[in-house]
Amino acid sequence: MHPAPSVIIFTTLSGLGFGLLFWLGIDPTPPTGFTGFIFFAIAYALAVGGLLSSTFHLGHPERAWRAFSQWRTSWLSREGVCAVAALCILGVYAAALIFLGQNIAILGWIGAAFAVGTVFTTSMIYGQLATVPRWKTPLTPALYLTFSLAGGALLSGRTFTAIVLLLFAAAVQLAWWQRGDKALSESGTDLGTATGLGERGTVRSMAHPHSSPNYLMKEFVYVVGRKHALKLRVIAFCLTFVLPLILLLVPFNHVFAALAVLSHIAGVACSRWLFFAEAEHVVGLYYGMR
């Protein structure tokens, strides 16, 4: 899949943002006043920024409001609904905390639920797609959720929780990669089933329909060299998990904490780039590519 910057930025930032919102929502002693303002400002900047970024890849952003209508079937619609619900509810919750010093816990809980829901629905946009075997697994929501919660914990300064969740997320990431590398071949879909000619022999694409590439090839076929991918995985893994964990495990220090957060964000972005770039859409088979 084409790793569109807007989608990478979106999933990275809003994942963290909603993760942070989740922790703020369920915090029995949430920050209030100016501190509260800072936390919520960061959370909203990440979540809303990510959402805004995602509208850049829309052909018609001005019609984006229509995307709330199909929540009954569409994960993308559900994501929109959840995101708006989370942002609105937690907005009230935050305002009460910041301006009134009031903790309306019930709002926090509901908002937190929608925040996780948002991350879950986002993950399901990908996780539902049978067309991308690498994504079509419960591990995808697990990946998004653990990343989001770990990142949120990290941002909200919950060191221990962050360490535990980072370890957890790291395990999910490794499992996800491991499974993903076999996903296409194990999916049973190949050029043989794609053309229905597989029983007659080995099918090979001899010529593309057009001599120049098209939307489908640009959108669905993105080839990262294997060596390249492995290197990037190592980098992503170190930045997302290893480095933050080390920084968290050494005695607390604000600079280290900030570095851990930055490293984690960079790592997640890198992992997300791979999430898309390495994903093979079955349409590529028709083009003899993956």
Binding site: R204, M206, A207, P209, H210, S211, S212
Partner: protein, 936 residues
């Protein structure tokens, strides 16, 4: 869940008006419905009533809208201001353009008409352009047939009075086995596809003989991946097998072919009576008798002893020749790349279908001998072939071999077999002979092109030198019925046989894809003599688009596009008939040009008027025709016969023959742009021998009198040239050609290796390199089309698995391909279903930078390429100082597919090689985005 589906208007208005005309995105000439909105072309679809396409349309046809809006369209007459080839022009008015042209042509016509060489390319108005050239008085006229498929045309016409190509078609409704030799697309694009579709729907079998398995061969049930240039051997091996097994149609051979005709043992010519009628022995009387007498039963196995000599029938000679073990499947297997078993199986299957699946059509008919037959015997085997077998230097004989194969099976002009389209069948003797009688200021003494019958008909000057600039109808290629357009520039540049003053060309991209040795041609066109003058002094060219050739002209006459002009697809030249009907068609301006362009034929009329040419001028000196439309309606070739056969006479009710009808074009337009006259039942098979067809054809003006004839298994004209080479007669070939003529001018089809094979080290250059037409592109024209160029914007060289693996190629690699003549470096791709020793690419995709209104980084000029840079118009020099043309020694057909190359892996260059400097574009570049919709 109360979802409201959007309310859709499922009956939107399709268009304001439909205008019906004829497609010219290629030469198939389908009928089209042009849907107009707000006076603009909105959508093009096929015309269901049209005899050619019956409603369907190919990719090119549907893309016509992108041709009519193409930014590459020339906008006004152009006068060269920079050096030739630079592309630097200034726009001038038509008055000025016509004055310049007249200034060049008038003195030539008055002093030395042969100094004009007028050659037209994909011309569909040859009877008109030929008429113009004849009235101008130059002997130097031809269209593109010589580099296209003259082997196919002449072999067919000399053998059976018509050919494949567009002269005939399989009886798609009855055939059960269709064998296709070397066709990627052909001129009959849509009819062939429709035919294949039809027989496939019936579950009939298709055999494809082609080194490459794509297109039609992809749907063939059996694929014969033959080695290029060896079809003749393969076919004669089938003939061998069939004769050996006696699986031949003896009745057919005896009645309708010259198999029973006696061959004079001394001369090798056919025995004839005093009226020139071929003689046979009648089985009932045992007597020598002209073949066409009532009740004659020609004896195939007869011998005639006279004055101590035994004369045998053609059948004897056939048996002697083809039963020879040199044609046994085992003997030809290696050379053809087809196993002996497979050849035998094919022979068996041909025999099985032709004879065991024969059927009778309940249709009475009477033959030319006056015998009435209750039924028509169907032999459901049909064949078709095109340039795959004809674009080789052994193509004439290979095409003849294929006709012999069909004829011994008795499958020509019978139900289920191959049938001619009017005006064919027509014996070669009914065609004119060529003419070259030049007189200053007067018309040529007859038509330029025709069918020679022997050495006396060659176009030689008194001193034996060629009369024509292209050396057509000379000992180098005696039977070159279509001329040799591919030799014109080369010969004019060499001054061999003589120098010319003005080269006038129309619709042929000669500095690029239609020439062999394109780079060399560019040099010849720009070469200067010791005085600094161009060696070819003047070049006038008519094109509609900014092609590669435009840059090499001194004066460019911009043509209209096909939707903007009158045209006439006439029975006098290449009509659109079907085997069951005669048909012709017109084009008419369904949109008016938005530029200062004129239909080229109209420009020729205007030039003829300025020059006061006979044929275009009334007795009182006034102009006969104002423009081409005027000519189409009012010209009469013979009394009652004009360019269009339909709606003749004052009441528009005369067909074929009839008076001029001033409203004829309107009647055509009302009728959908075409006219069809069906052949009556009972007349539509056995046409060469069928009395009622012959009578119908006379009524239509196709013949002046019935002309029944015999199929020429043994070709007497061919023999007469061979005989001359053996030393008989006054007109003798030059010594250096004598042996070659003796060998190739065999009156019975033979096979010999491609001429190029003799001049090339086959160990160094073992690989055959071919091109194919892409179905969705027409030569160079398709490229300017925004939709079509997305399909074929560049072309890889396809390599078979053997070569792919041998050289360790991978996707994305490039190769250096070398012939004795040149070298190209190009992208490669893998194709498994390909003959082991063959590589190929799509024809004419590569483009020169700066042409066709494309950007200079267009893939056509950076990754696309032409194979033409590897092919020379001359054979490798033999050290005798002579220029041997790379053509069939009989017809002059350009031997495109004889090419031999070697291949090496190469580093990917920045662009495909050779790369040429960009041409300065005479038109503006196209827009960066299209959102084409004329109705809002």
């Amino acid at each position: 869940m109360t979802f409201q589906q959007p309310k859709l208007n499922t009956s939107p208005k399709v268009s304001d008006e439909v205008r019906q005309t004829t497609c010219y995105m290629c030469a198939c000439r389908c009928g089209i419905n042009v849907h107009m909105k707000d006076g603009k072309v909105a959508y093009i679809e096929g015309n269901r009533d049209h005899p050619v396409n019956k409603g369907v349309l190919c990719a090119k046809g549907s893309a016509g809208i992108m041709q009519v809006n193409a930014p590459s369209r020339l906008r006004a007459p152009l006068k060269r201001v920079g050096p030739r080839g630079s592309g630097e022009f200034e726009e001038i008015t038509w008055d000025e353009a016509l004055d310049i042209a007249t200034g060049l042509l008038k003195p030539i016509r008055e002093n030395n008409p042969e100094k004009l060489a007028f050659f037209t390319g994909r011309d569909q108005s040859q009877s008109f352009t030929g008429f113009w050239a004849q009235n101008f008085g130059t002997p130097n006229f031809a269209a593109h047939g010589g580099f296209c498929s003259v082997n196919m045309a002449t072999a067919g016409i000399y053998t059976m009075g018509g050919a494949f190509w567009e002269f005939g078609q399989p009886d798609w409704d009855h055939t059960k086995l269709f064998m296709l030799f070397g066709v990627a697309e052909d001129h009959d694009s849509n009819p062939i596809k429709a035919g294949i579709g039809k027989i496939k729907a019936r579950g009939a079998k298709v055999i494809g003989v082609n080194p490459v398995r794509s297109g039609y061969n992809a749907v063939a049930d059996e694929w014969v991946g033959i080695t290029p240039g060896s079809d003749g051997l393969f076919i004669l091996s089938l003939v061998h097998e069939l004769m050996k097994a006696g699986k031949i149609d003896l009745h057919y051979l005896a009645q309708y072919t010259n198999a029973p005709v006696l061959v004079d043992a001394e001369t090798g010519l056919l025995m004839r009576d005093e009226n020139g009628k071929e003689l046979v022995i009648d089985r009932t009387t045992g007597k020598l008798t002209p073949f066409d007498q009532k009740g004659v039963q020609p004896d195939l196995s007869a011998q005639y002893r006279h004055a101590g000599t035994t004369h045998k029938t053609v059948m004897h000679l056939l048996a002697e020749k083809y039963l020879d073990p040199q044609y046994a499947p085992e003997a030809v297997a290696e050379r053809t790349g087809v196993t002996a078993d497979k050849i035998k199986t094919i022979a068996a299957d041909l025999a099985r279908v032709a004879f065991d699946e024969a059927f009778e059509l309940d249709q009475e008919w009477t033959d030319f001998r006056g015998e009435t037959h209750k039924t028509m015997t169907g032999r459901p085997v049909s064949m078709h072939a095109m340039r795959g077998i004809s674009a080789h230097s052994n193509g004439f004989q290979t095409c003849r071999a294929l006709h012999v194969l069909q004829i011994i099976l008795g499958t020509v002009e019978v139900p289920g077999g191959f049938r001619f389209k009017p005006p064919y069948p027509k014996p070669y003797t009914a065609h004119p002979k060529p003419h070259c009688g030049v007189q200053p200021n007067s018309a040529l003494d007859g038509p330029h092109l025709g069918f020679v019958q022997g050495p006396d008909d060659l176009m030689l000057k008194e001193d034996g030198s060629p009369a024509r600039i292209d050396k057509a109808f000379t000992w180098e290629n005696p039977m070159s019925a279509h001329g040799l357009m591919h030799m014109v520039i080369s010969n004019a540049h060499a001054g061999d046989p003589y120098k010319i003053d003005t080269l006038f060309m129309y619709m042929a991209n000669m500095s690029w894809n239609s020439s062999m040795n394109s780079g060399g041609v560019m040099q010849m066109l720009t070469d200067t003599d010791e005085n600094g003058d161009y060696v070819i002094p003047n070049i006038i060219y008519s094109d509609a688009y900014s092609s590669e050739m435009v840059a090499y002209a001194d004066l460019v006459l911009p043509d209209t596009t096909y939707l903007e002009r009158h045209d006439c697809i006439s029975l006098l030249d290449r009509p659109i008939c079907e085997a069951d009907a005669a048909a012709d068609a017109i084009r008419w301006p369904v949109v008016e040009p938005d530029r200062d362009v004129r239909g080229f034929q109209t420009v020729l009329v205007q030039l003829a008027n300025k020059l006061g040419m006979p044929g275009f001028t009334n007795k009182d000196g006034s102009a006969k025709y104002q423009d081409y439309a005027d000519y189409i309606v009012n010209h009469q070739r013979k009394p009652g016969i004009g360019p269009l056969a339909g709606f003749r006479g004052e009441n528009a009710d005369q067909v074929g023959r009839g008076d001029v009808n001033p409203d004829q074009l309107d009647r055509y337009i009302e009728n959908g742009g075409f006219f069809v006259e069906h052949i009556p039942d009972g007349a539509n098979y056995y046409k060469p021998w069928n009395a009622s067809y012959q009578d119908w054809a006379v009524g239509m003006g196709i013949y002046d009198a019935p002309e029944p004839y015999l199929f020429q298994l043994y070709s007497e004209p061919v023999r007469s040239f061979q005989r001359a080479a053996e030393g008989h007669g006054d007109r003798q070939p030059p010594e250096h050609l004598r042996d070659r003529l003796k060998a190739v001018m065999d009156p019975l089809p033979i096979w010999y290796p491609a001429l190029e094979d003799n001049g090339v080290d086959l160990d160094e250059f073992p690989i055959h390199a071919l091109t194919q037409r892409p179905m969705a592109m027409y030569h160079s024209w398709g490229t300017q089309n925004a939709w079509l160029r997305q399909l074929h914007g560049h072309n890889p060289l396809y390599l078979p698995t053997k070569l792919w693996e041998q050289h360790g190629f991978a996707d994305g690699d490039w190769a250096r391909v070398t012939s004795t003549h040149g070298e190209i470096t190009v992208p490669v791709a893998h194709q498994a279903a390909l003959n082991d020793n063959t590589v190929w690419t799509w024809n004419a995709i590569g483009k020169r930078k700066g042409t066709w209104a494309l950007s200079e980084d267009a893939p056509e000029s950076n990754k696309g390429f032409l194979l033409n840079h590897l092919i020379h118009e001359l054979l490798p020099p033999k050290g005798d100082g002579l220029r041997w043309s790379n053509s069939d020694p009989i017809t002059g057909q350009a031997a495109w597919f004889d090419l031999r190359v070697k291949i090496e892996k190469a580093d990917a260059p920045a662009e495909s090689q050779p790369a040429f400097a960009p041409i300065k574009s005479p038109v503006a570049q196209g827009p960066s985005e299209l959102k084409w919709k004329v109705g809002k």
